[in-house]
Structures are given as C-alpha cells and as structure tokens.
Symmetry: D2
Subunit: 344 residues, 4 copies
Amino acid sequence: MTVKGIAVIGAGYWGPNLIRNLQAHPEWDLRWVCDLDSERAARAVGQAPGVRVTTSLDDVLDDPAVVAVAVATPAATHTAVVLSSLEAGRHVLVEKPLAPSLAEGQKLVEVAEDRGLVLMCDHTYCYTPAVLKIRELVRGGELGDIQYFDSVRVNLGLVQNDIDVLWDLGPHDLSILDFILPEDMRPTSIAATGADPVGAGHLCVGYLTMPLGNKAVAHVHLNWLSPKKVRTTLIGGSRRMVVWDDLDPSQRVSVYDRGVELQGTQGDARRQAQVAYRLGDMVAPALPEREALQGVAGEFASAIAEHRAPLTDGRSGLRVLELLEAAGRSLEQGGGFVNIGAES
Amino acid sequence: MTVKGIAVIGAGYWGPNLIRNLQAHPEWDLRWVCDLDSERAARAVGQAPGVRVTTSLDDVLDDPAVVAVAVATPAATHTAVVLSSLEAGRHVLVEKPLAPSLAEGQKLVEVAEDRGLVLMCDHTYCYTPAVLKIRELVRGGELGDIQYFDSVRVNLGLVQNDIDVLWDLGPHDLSILDFILPEDMRPTSIAATGADPVGAGHLCVGYLTMPLGNKAVAHVHLNWLSPKKVRTTLIGGSRRMVVWDDLDPSQRVSVYDRGVELQGTQGDARRQAQVAYRLGDMVAPALPEREALQGVAGEFASAIAEHRAPLTDGRSGLRVLELLEAAGRSLEQGGGFVNIGAES
Amino acid sequence: MTVKGIAVIGAGYWGPNLIRNLQAHPEWDLRWVCDLDSERAARAVGQAPGVRVTTSLDDVLDDPAVVAVAVATPAATHTAVVLSSLEAGRHVLVEKPLAPSLAEGQKLVEVAEDRGLVLMCDHTYCYTPAVLKIRELVRGGELGDIQYFDSVRVNLGLVQNDIDVLWDLGPHDLSILDFILPEDMRPTSIAATGADPVGAGHLCVGYLTMPLGNKAVAHVHLNWLSPKKVRTTLIGGSRRMVVWDDLDPSQRVSVYDRGVELQGTQGDARRQAQVAYRLGDMVAPALPEREALQGVAGEFASAIAEHRAPLTDGRSGLRVLELLEAAGRSLEQGGGFVNIGAES
Amino acid sequence: MTVKGIAVIGAGYWGPNLIRNLQAHPEWDLRWVCDLDSERAARAVGQAPGVRVTTSLDDVLDDPAVVAVAVATPAATHTAVVLSSLEAGRHVLVEKPLAPSLAEGQKLVEVAEDRGLVLMCDHTYCYTPAVLKIRELVRGGELGDIQYFDSVRVNLGLVQNDIDVLWDLGPHDLSILDFILPEDMRPTSIAATGADPVGAGHLCVGYLTMPLGNKAVAHVHLNWLSPKKVRTTLIGGSRRMVVWDDLDPSQRVSVYDRGVELQGTQGDARRQAQVAYRLGDMVAPALPEREALQGVAGEFASAIAEHRAPLTDGRSGLRVLELLEAAGRSLEQGGGFVNIGAES
C-alpha cells in the first residue's frame, strides 16, 4: 500500500465530507483543497498541516504528488473540471451526477478509458453497510428471482431552483438499483410522472416506473413536499424479501423468508387453489457501523492500485444519466415509457 | 325513525359483517339472509329470532316488509341481483365494485334514478373515523390547496384468480379519493403500470397515477407480494399535510402544520431564495372508536328516509369503475395516460 | 379423543370468550351457561342448540354429562364456586386470580389434589404463540443464563374500585414469569412501590422488583394512567436476548444474538478491558396465528384425559397469589423486600 | 456582550464536544485546551488559531484573559481541578457528576458561593429542545398536577469498571427530574434495586423509585444489558400527559390531552361509576433543531454576565449526588427507602 496524494475540488455542501474522510483514510494523503471561494476552502480544511488551499485548479494539477482528484463542484462544472484532471493524467472521483448530460458524461468516460485512468462516481449510498448487504443478498441468490424494487424517498426537502426532484433525489435510487442488480436485470425502459403543485417550474413530486428483466419492475417515489421523512425500500424476491428502512438505525435491513408460489401451470383454470404461501422467520442481519465515505475512499484507492474499474465506475454514472434523460423525455411525452439502452 | 326491513343477499366473506352490523343497528330490522348455500346462510345468521334463511331471491322480494337489500354476492352477479331488487322497488346497498363493468354499473344507476330508489355503494373505508376526519379537513379547507395524495396498500395478499391487484385493492383507494376530494379536483386521467413477476396471469404489483385538478397528483401503490403490510396515505396541502397510517391504532391520523411556499414569481430567476418553509406542530386528532359498517348502515337508512343520495351513491361507484376500466386500457396501451370523463 | 361435557359459570366480561372458544373446540361439548343474570347468560350463548341457560350452579352439577366447569365469576366468588364444583367431582378451569387470597387458594388446591381432579388456572397469556415461543427459548437454553426480565404493562386503564393495579394487571406478568422460568429461577422475594396520585384509595401506578435465582432480577411496571399503551417485555440472557412487543403484530418476538461477557476474574483490576460485546443478527421467529383460549381449552382437555397437571395448574395460581400477597405486605412495610416461599 | 476567555480542561470523551461548541459560540473565546496527554489535547483542538495546548492547569490559570474553565476530566479529579480554578477566581462549568461524593460537592459549592463565582453543572440533556419544552409544560401548569415520571434508559452499554449503572446513567434522569420539577415536588426519599447478573462487581441493571411531593412518584430503569436501545420517559399529569421518546427525531415530544378524574369522594362506595376519562387530541410541538451544548455555553455566559445562578447550578449537582448516595445506601440496606434532604 502506497499512500497517494489527492486534492478535493469544491468545498461547498459535500466537499467537507470528502475532506474529512480522505484525511482520515490511511491510503490517502490530502494535499490540496481548491475552491473559487478561498475562505470557504480554508474553513473546510481547518489548519490541517500540509493541506494547501488554492482557487486555481492549475495549482493542483501542477503538483506531481497529486495522483487523483475528488470533484465536488456544482454539476454544471463537472465536465470541465473532470476533463482537465483526466487530461492532466489524474484519476478522478466525482460527485453525482457524473455530468449534467449523458453526452458530456460519455465524453468523460471515453477520455478516462483512453488514458487508462480510473473515473469513479461517488454514489455514496452504495457503500453503506445496508446496501452492501442487500447487494450481497441479491447477487448471491439468497433472494431468488427479483420480483420488484420499490423505493420511497420523501421529506420536506429543499425545493431546488435549477433541477427537479428527479435529478435531485433520483440519482440515489437509480445508482443503488444499478449497484445491486445483476446486469441482465437492468431497466429496459422508464416512465416518469409527477406534479409541480407549488409552481416551482418543475416536478416537486415524482414517480419513476422501470420494467426490469425477467418480468420484474422497479418504482421510485420522490417527493420534496412530504411532512414526514421516509426512506424505505421494499425488494421482493422469489425466495426472500427485504425491507430496508434507512431511518431505523436499530433495524435497517429486514430479510423475510416469505413469498408466494404459483404451483399451477399458466393455463390451469383452478390455479388459485394452488398458490402456496411461505411465512417464515425474519432475520435482521447485524451491520457494521461504518461511514460510507470511508468505503468510497477505499474503493477509489484500490481501483487505482489494482488497475481495475471501481464498483461504481463512470459507466454506472452513465447509466444513471441515461435513465434521468429518458425520464425527462417521458415527462415531455406525457408519461409513457421511453426505451433505455439505444444510446449507451 | 321507522325501523325498516332489510335482507342480506350473499353470506360469504363479507356477508356476515353486514348481518352483524344490520342486526345491531337500531334503524334496521334484518328479516332474511339469502345464499345459494343454505347451510352457509344458516351459519352466518346463527339462530337469530325472526331472521329467515333462503336460497331464493324471490322469497326475499316477495316479502313486503323488506324495503331494502344489502348485496354481498360475487361481483359477477351484482348486475342481476341489484337489477331484480331495484325492479322490485327495493333500495339497494351493494359491495364494491358496483358492477363488473362500467356499462353494467351505468345501467343500474339509471334504473335506480328512474325509480327514485337509493342505490348505495358499500365503500366501507369511507365511513371509518379516520377517513371521515380527513374528508372534513380537506373539505373544510384546513389543508388548503391539495397538492398530492399518495397511498400505499401492500401486504402478502391473496393472489386472486380472476381479478388483478388493481381491481382487488384499488377500489379502496379510489373510493376514498372520490370521497374526500371536492368535485373539481377529481382525476382527469389515469396511467397504470406494474408487474406480474409470479406468472399469475395479471398484475400482482400495480401503480396508478392520476393527475388531479389544480396541478395536483394522486398515486396509488398496490402490491400482493410485500413481506410487510403497509396502509399509509400521505396527503399534501398548502396549509397542512396529513399522514394516515391505518396500522397505528394509537395515532392513525397526523396533521402537520408544515409546508413550502414559493414567494417569488414564476419568472423570478432568484426564486430559490424566496421559498418559505413552515415547520409547525403536529396534531393527532382524537378519533371515536366505531365500526365503519355502523356508519354505512346509518347512512343507508338516512338516505332512504330523507329521499336523498347517500354519501357514497351509485355515481361514486361509477367513477371508481371508470377509473379501473381506464387503468386497464392504460395497461394495454403500455402505461400512458388515458382520459377520464368522456363516458360518464 | 372423547368429547367432554362442560359448563361455563359466569357470563360477564370474560365468560363470552370462554363460551365462544369452548363451542369451537373439538374436544368440548358446551352444555350449560350459568349466571345469576339469566338474560346476560342467554345473550352470551345466543341460540346455540343444546346449550342450556341457568341461574343455578346446582342445575349444572346435577348433569352427569358435565365433567368439567369453567369459572369466570368475580374473584370474590371463586372459592365457593370452585369448591362446590370440585366436591361434586368436576374438573375446574378458573379465571385469574385463582382465589381472592392465598389461604383460600391453598384450600382449593388441596381439595383438587385429594380428589385427583384437574384444577387449572386460565393464565391466558401463557398460551399465546409469543409466550409459548419465549418459554421454549428459555427452557431450551437458547437464551443461556437468564439475566433479567423487565415488563411494562401500561395504558389509560379502567381504574378499578375494589382492587389496585397490582392485583388487576399483575397476574398477567407474574403468571408469564412463572410459566417461562425454570423452577430454580423463581422469585425468592418481592418489593412493591408505586403511587395513587388520583386518590383512588389504592395504587394506580405500581412497580414490582423480584430477585430471581442465579443473580437475575425481574421487574414489572403496571400503570393505569399512561397516555400510551405499552406491552413490552425485555428478557436478557447470556446467549440471546428477547424483546416481546405484544402491540406489534408484525414482529412480536425479536431474538437478538447480543450480549456482554466478562472475561476477567472477579479480582482482576483491569477487568474492563476484558469485556467482550457480541452484536449478532436478530431473528423474529414466525409465529402461528392462533387464539390463546383455544390452547387453554386444549390443555385443559388433555390434562384431564392424561391424568396429569396442566401447564398452568393450581399451584401456579398459588405462586401468583403468594407474590401478590407479599407485594401487599411490602407496600405496607414501606417498599422493602418480603420473602417468598415460607408459606407455600 | 463581551467575549470571555475560557479554557477546556480534559480532552478525553466529552472534551472535544465542549471544544467544538465553545469555539462556535459567539460569547466565548476558547484560549486553552489542557490535558495530561498533550497529543490528545492537540488532536482535539486541531490547529485552531489562538488556542494553546498545555498539560499544566497552572498555565491556564496564569492567563488573566481566562475568566472561566470547563472541566471534563475524570470524575475522581473534579474536586481538585474545580477547587483550584475557583480559588484562582475562575467561574467553572463541570461535567456530571459535580464531584465523586456529596461531601466534596458541598465543599465546591461553598467555595463558589463564598467567592461569588458561577459554578455550573453541564447537565447537557436539560438544554435539549425536548427537555426545555417539557420543563415549560410542567412549570407553566399545562400538565396540571404531576402524577408520575417514568424513565427508561437502556441499551447494550459499556459495562464500566469503576462505577455502577446508577452512577453512569442515573445522573441524566436525576438531573432532568430536578430541572423540570418545581421545588416542592422534589424527591423526598429513594429506593434502589437491581442486579449484577454478569459478575461485574456492581449493578448492571438498576431501578430507582422516588416518591415525589403531592403523592406522585418517579421511577427510573437503567440497564447496560438491553439488546435494544430505549430512551423513553412518560410523564403523567392531571391535565395533560407527555411521552418523550428521544430516539424518534420526527416526534420526540407528544402531549396527550388524556386523563382520569375521580369525581366521587374518598368514602364513596360507588366511586368507580364516577371516574371520568378524557381522550382528547395529541399534539407534538415543533422543536427547534439545536445542539444542547450551545445552550449550555450560552447559559454559562449569561449567568456570569448577569451575576446569577445558572439553571443547572452547583446546588442542582448536589441534589443529584445526594440521590445517588442515598440510592447506594438503599442498595446496602436491601432496597428500602432512604430519606433525602437531611444532609443538604
């Protein structure tokens, strides 16, 4: 393990979390914090010895000890900052969304792949102990065939000025879905509906429906106008079913040995009599207490060291962007399904 | 108050509840229980003095003391039973759905209206203390402008042989929506999506989206394959917001003095700075403990006595049928929106 | 299996539940319902064919087909009714408490034992699926050494005129404790404290502390004045720990693989460094849905057929009475511990 | 408002929280962090400009700009550190417990009072929005006469080497009780029971019962061996009742308009018929989101500026110590009640 030099670009909302976690991580040496607002950068870094503050990305990229950058600037600037960093030969960790459009995201992925650099999306939720456990359950076959994925992410949220609720909250659920599902189950199309009842100029309440492979469905409810915070995901499987309640720290993941099995054949007129219900125990697996960003920092370091794609690589970011853009087209077309995958 | 003679037709799943509640109600005199299975009818009625059992609807309709019938036979038989009863001059209370199709339902409503008879749908949930309170809050303006209605009705349910999850569970939410909303807010179109991951031959997981008047939206999640039972409805309003959790007997209805207000104008570039958040108290109103079917029985008696339409009249049943049929067309067309209201 | 004739004595609050469950049970033939108020008896029995109503216990005991009686009269009358029944050679199932005093209870147990009759206490909670599962976990050693038993049974309850909250609610927890613990762990003394803040003339808020064998402790909180209903019991064990929340139908019993182990010796000054914490999975076992009184009826029938003591025999009722009387003495003495076992 | 110089003594478990909150507070100028372990002190302070690190209390007390110290050293050292600081003319904020014994605590209070210095206990919970609201409800009379206070503070906790669960967790509940109750309601005696089922050498499960003025009672359940974390307090009042669930961030405080009223007289034989039950609405008041230690820092500054006793002054710390010492005597005497107040 060699300690690697890194810089954080952007010291606004999320930057301080990256700074704290990179400083605490044994494989990283945080060398710079860069922000156009130098006072904000200074505040974010404190007086940590050896960490320099600058308003110029060039200062960072001129430092040969910096092998990687973590980008937490506003989404609109991702393309320029990431591109400069890649072209200067640096590995890049970038906040969600990867880029403000699919086309720009594709450009970034191409450049990274051409140069053999790691481009990783900071899909933070994927590195929580809960989601890692769910991925293991899904991928390891413990749930059997996936039947549905239903997520509710609502609260009295900050009504954003420049993006709708789908672009604000949707990347969380879409990146989790991408992370846990095997490749052949990924969404094949998407339909988006919702409402703007307060006159924000874009959706404040949104619903996404995505048929998955194997006759399953994914659905996401996103809402800035709920009096109560809810962060609950139901995942149905033919062998087990999962309830993930992220607001219950004492029991985030519950795995139910429950299910329905049709034992008749499709044409069987008396099928109903042959439905078998399974009502077994529930297990809430013990989960380690660990900050997700430590996992992000570790995966980024490992991917670089091992010359491999990280778990949430640039292509996972592209898939999220593709779904968001298709959701936008569905809205424009009045809510019908828009196919995925033609473009990527 | 004159006590009125009544008969219950159908002694299967729901009939015994009607029998028990009509026997207990001071305005009704239960005279007959009619079922093709005379043993089932006898079991349902016990040895209650004066209540006769028959397998023939004619016996019931030949009794001049019977002024009304309550129909709890399978949906496919509603049209014939209700029509005979109306044509014999009896008022009718009928289980949901009113009829197996919108066209047949319209026929029933027409006959009842022509003859000046009360035709009431047993939309039982509408008579729970929780829904009555919510209706009062919505109609009385306490919630302000309705922004959204989001209902989740999921559990490991009986996978039905002959109807999908929309027709099985949907009438509950659609009748509640119809009951609480003012007329000018009713759904103008509907889109349905979902999945049949177990090969039941029809939807086991379903999602309904309905734009409402005034830029609001209603959404319903229905699911037979959930490991956990959920019965939660969120209702957003510009002045107050409601969470109705029907599984929490100690706090079913919570009214939050919370909200978001945009104070800028539509074209204001700096709108975000002008969003005001309200985070006030929550009140859980005391609700009486009362069985909903007592309210149904009372409303049916009052509507007959007062020669008026009951709160959940035949037309409310038609509106539910119209939504369900339109949902079916949406599914057939791949999930886009289907307009409501052309036909009714 | 021979069907046995039985009579229910007392048709007040609890009698109808006994009547319904005995009628439904295949091993019992309910022949009589006896109550001083003959109208109440008639209402309770409905028009069930073959069940006779009487105001006289003699009528019941004169019927040779009656081999057993179930007594649900007020506690003050238990001694007379049970004694008459035993002396007439009938097996007896009796509501809690067994008798209004320990001395009278002892008399009943002696008579039953002398005559070889079954005397069973209707400690209904012991026959719930949750308590049966907990007993199995405790007795089977899955919990390891029991460390503590802590029960909270509070709500806005009916303030009783003639008995305090200890005698009203306490028998539930004391009989459960007796049921699940092995003999050598039973309480050796009891201390009672509490308050009568509303001037009822006796405790409305009560606390019982009972040292158990093996350095463990049991504690019960009983309260008629709580705004919220709570029915939660924690049971600590050296191998597993249980939370029983009787108000959560979806997860009544949770078994945690958690614990603390001291690995140092008693005199070890650096013991703290050697505490090991175990934080494993939680399992909520699937529990059958079954009415507890069906289990009571079945156990009563089996005990008679097999000439054995029932699980909740008269002696278990005596142990509950002994704890209640000792709690009363503790209260009189100002709350200190009173020994158990000298008298029984 | 003059900014005052302050030092934090002790940079272990709690010190960093004091450091962070004093640095952030506008009325305080944090000048020193003092700890015998200079590296730990340096880590705790970061490189905050102007904050010096020392291992010597003398360095701190030699700085004339330091007008106050915040002491977060182990309890055993409180007496020496606080005494030196008071004798050097400094105001003192000290962690709970005030001192390791009542006698030493009395000495500290005397010295502070003699010199006219502020001696404040950092009873942090008292400054949470929830407890401040409850105090306001109790003191303002909204709850009516207090009937009981029942607190449960249990989890799988760190089994301490040198103190039992009463001294570890008890100060939280005892200081809250002291804070919210009016003077004439304070505990008049205390009884302690519990168990040491793991062989820790002292109580790991503890129960405290305290009769309050006006026939009310307080009870506290403290437990290091619970599989589940519970932080719930019930407070009964004749007009309103409160449930404080500190683990439910969305509804910490619930105020129920519920109660029981006896309308008969003490000697009335038919009293039961005259109990009136009130079952009104529940209100969950909106609470500000604010860190309690900001309130502690502010109250300390204000008390100094206004030459007054702080809300949680040294005498409140003495009352907590007195209860803890009396609880110890109760344990030694086998659990009976020990009077309070003779000594203080």
